[in-house]
């Protein structure tokens, strides 16, 4: 039983030549709108209890419109939204706060605006006050608050009752670090109790760390609904997409998705990771010196060519990445037909686990100006702890531990 089902949802804005025609249309007279502008088309997805879903997309892709329709402030033009439970949105914290009233009065008013009764509100008020941790200020006018204090009360109000679906905008990253952690704890706690999360963010690491799934919106369509890493790789390729650039995703043997994109003016012919015995390797020992060899073929004359690479952990977070722009080894004026071999040697100082390598062929230090080719999961390898003592984490760091007895 899903907690939120969105089916064939569409939204259009109608404009009329004259507003009088709009008024006439309410009374059932047949007046055609001058223009119908569709901003969302045929959106369908569902969210299960406890699932957390990331919503990504470029500005203007339709994320806010979709969220407004899910929260119920905007009516859909077609399609349906079925919600089984209560939705709370942390979008605009502190909406409708009156600066002249105290935190308590505003909290009370804010909760009543969400449709709760006096009795329900009285029950959660002590907990809300404790959560906000602003002491005596809770009974002072809000105009005397710092913005951080206002945030605390507002967040407390938004999350005073556990909703079935919590919508969190990236604007959440406000307030001091301590309170950020506290808010995140509360969100996680809700999640454990079965709340589904809908997180809107451009932040790759936040989406990949928190979400089980991600939905990518582009020009009002859902173009990707998959596990976060695959979607974020696709999104990354998309924001660099220019004319005559293509994005392709293929399933690899391990069931993961390999994403490649770019204009194709230069391409990687071969990418391989070699171990210390000069063999193509899939399993690497912790600390072993390895070589990443990338064979690049150039198809068009290029002003500059930069190779970038990044090593990603199991969750798809880049743990190390650099490029030949930063190492000042930019190739200038490369001609069509040239083939270059890049050999990158480094010690595999990683913790045991699965890793992947992404490669990028670009013109400068980012892939946003020209993206010749970008490949995610070009190489997948495993690191095994063969000869080191047991350790935890992603990083291998040879320790030297000295113990001195300082008293009898």
């Amino acid at each position: 039983m899903s907690i939120l089902t969105v089916s064939n949802l569409g939204k259009s804005y109608r404009s009329y030549n004259s507003q009088f025609k709009r008024v006439v249309s309410w009374f059932g007279l047949p007046v055609k709108p001058a223009e119908e502008h569709w901003v969302l088309h045929d959106i369908s997805f569902s969210i299960n209890p406890g699932e957390s879903v990331g919503l990504v997309g470029q500005n203007g892709a339709g994320k806010s419109t979709l969220l407004k329709m899910i929260t119920g402030t905007l009516p859909p033009t077609k399609g349906t939204i079925q919600v089984n439970g209560r939705i709370a949105a942390i979008l605009e914290l502190g909406m409708g706060f009156n600066p002249e009233f105290t935190g308590r009065q505003n909290a009370l008013h804010g909760l009543s605006m969400m449709g709760y009764s006096q009795g329900q509100i009285d029950q959660v008020m002590p907990e809300l006050e404790a959560f906000a941790e602003i002491g005596e200020y809770f009974d002072q006018p809000v105009r005397t608050y710092s913005s951080g204090m206002q945030m605390r009360v507002a967040f407390g109000v938004a999350t005073a009752f556990r909703p079935e679906i919590l919508i969190v905008d990236e604007a959440l990253s406000v307030g001091d670090t301590y309170f950020q952690h506290k808010s995140f704890d509360r969100i996680k706690q809700f999640q454990e109790q079965g709340t589904s999360l809908l997180l809107v963010s451009h932040d790759r690491s936040a989406i990949q760390a928190v979400c089980d799934r991600a939905i990518l919106l582009e020009n009002g369509y859902v173009i990707k609904d998959d596990e976060p890493e695959a979607v974020m790789d696709f999104y990354n390729a998309l924001i660099a997409e220019k004319e005559n650039s293509t994005v392709t995703q293929t399933k690899t043997e391990d069931g993961k998705v390999k994403t490649s994109s770019g204009t194709g003016q230069a391409k990687t012919k071969q990418v391989g990771l070699y171990n210390s015995k000069n063999q193509l390797a899939e399993i690497i020992a912790v600390g072993e010196t390895v070589q990443l060899r990338v064979l690049v073929e150039v198809f068009e004359d290029l002003g500059s060519l930069v190779l970038g690479y990044g090593i990603k952990d199991r969750l798809g977070q880049v743990i190390f990445g650099t490029n030949t722009w930063h190492t000042k080894q930019i190739l200038h004026n490369v001609k069509a037909g040239e083939i270059h071999l890049f050999t990158i040697e480094f010690p595999a100082n990683f913790g045991a686990g699965s890793y992947s390598i992404q490669t990028a062929l670009v013109d400068k230090d980012t892939h946003l100006t020209a993206n010749y080719e970008w490949v995610d999961r070009a190489v997948v390898f495993n690191v095994a702890n063969i000869d080191k003592n047991h350790f935890a984490g992603l990083l291998w760091q040879e320790p030297e531990i000295k113990i001195d007895r300082v008293s009898e």
């Binding site: 407004k68 402030t73 605006m113 449709g115 709760y116």
Partner: protein, 261 residues
């Protein structure tokens, strides 16, 4: 529609309370301002016009007849114009709230209704206190006041709701209506009596609904006259029709409203 509103009854109460409190949360004499504004208005007109109009007020023996007449009319007008002008901008003023928070929009006119009703009651109490100082105690006809209050409120709110809905789409309405209200005030026998108008033209005033309402307020507060119940019933019927029209337009416009705010 109405069931959803019932769930938000605490929000409605809280909003009315807050609106009332916000008016004097930082002023020294607080609620007195609610009374001082209309009283100042009465005082000004009374000082300027009373000598002029004294002779024209028939069958009233108190020397304060004119100020009382004036106060009755201004009370009626204040209830009406406040209902209209507040409803006129409810959707536009609360645009941000409507766009960001999901709640039944019908709650907003209900809050306005409550706020205006509360303010008018406070004003009425103040007026009775002033009347007592002047040695004037309205007679038994004053029992009509609750009905008159209700009619004026519903009439004003219905017009306000219709205009408020239209104002979302045609913002000029928000500019025109206050001007029309200004004219309306002077086209209603409030500071003057209908008797100063040449008899041949008096019938034109019948087309102004506020002439009737102001007249009833003056009847019960000053003259202690019975009011024309049949006319009142007709008026109630018309107000109800307007209210239904307003609610109908609101229901039709609601889905498109958010797009325009």
């Amino acid at each position: 529609m109405f069931k959803a509103v019932w769930q938000y009854r605490y929000f409605i109460l809280s909003s009315i309370k807050n609106d009332f409190k916000a008016r004097f949360v930082r002023s020294k004499i607080g609620g007195l301002w609610l009374i001082l504004h209309p009283l100042a208005m009465v005082l000004i007109y009374a000082l300027i016009l009373s000598a002029l109009l004294k002779a024209k007020l028939p069958d009233v023996d108190t020397i304060y007849a004119y100020p009382i007449y004036l106060t009755a009319g201004i009370l009626a007008w204040t209830i009406f114009s406040e209902s209209v002008s507040r409803s006129l901008t409810i959707f536009v003023d609360n645009g941000n709230l409507i766009k960001k928070v999901a709640f039944p929009k019908l709650v907003l006119p209900i809050i306005t209704f409550g706020t205006v009703a509360l303010n008018s009651l406070v004003l009425l109490v103040a007026i009775f206190i002033v009347f007592a100082f002047l040695g004037h105690f309205p007679g038994v006809q004053a029992l009509w006041l609750p009905v008159l209050f209700g009619v004026t409120l519903v009439f004003g709110m219905s017009i306000g709701l219709i205009l408020g809905v239209l104002n979302v789409f045609i913002r000029d309405i928000g500019q025109i209506v206050p001007v029309i209200l200004q004219f309306g005030f002077w086209l209603t026998p409030i500071v003057y009596t209908i008797t100063i108008i040449p008899e041949a033209h008096q019938h034109w005033f019948d087309y102004n609904p506020m002439t009737h309402i102001a007249g009833w307020f003056q009847d019960v507060l000053l003259y202690n006259r019975t009011i024309d119940v049949f006319a009142l019933l007709k008026f109630i019927g018309a107000s109800m029709l307007l209210l239904v029209l307003g609610l109908f337009m609101f229901k039709k416009a609601a889905p498109e409203m958010v797009d325009q705010l």
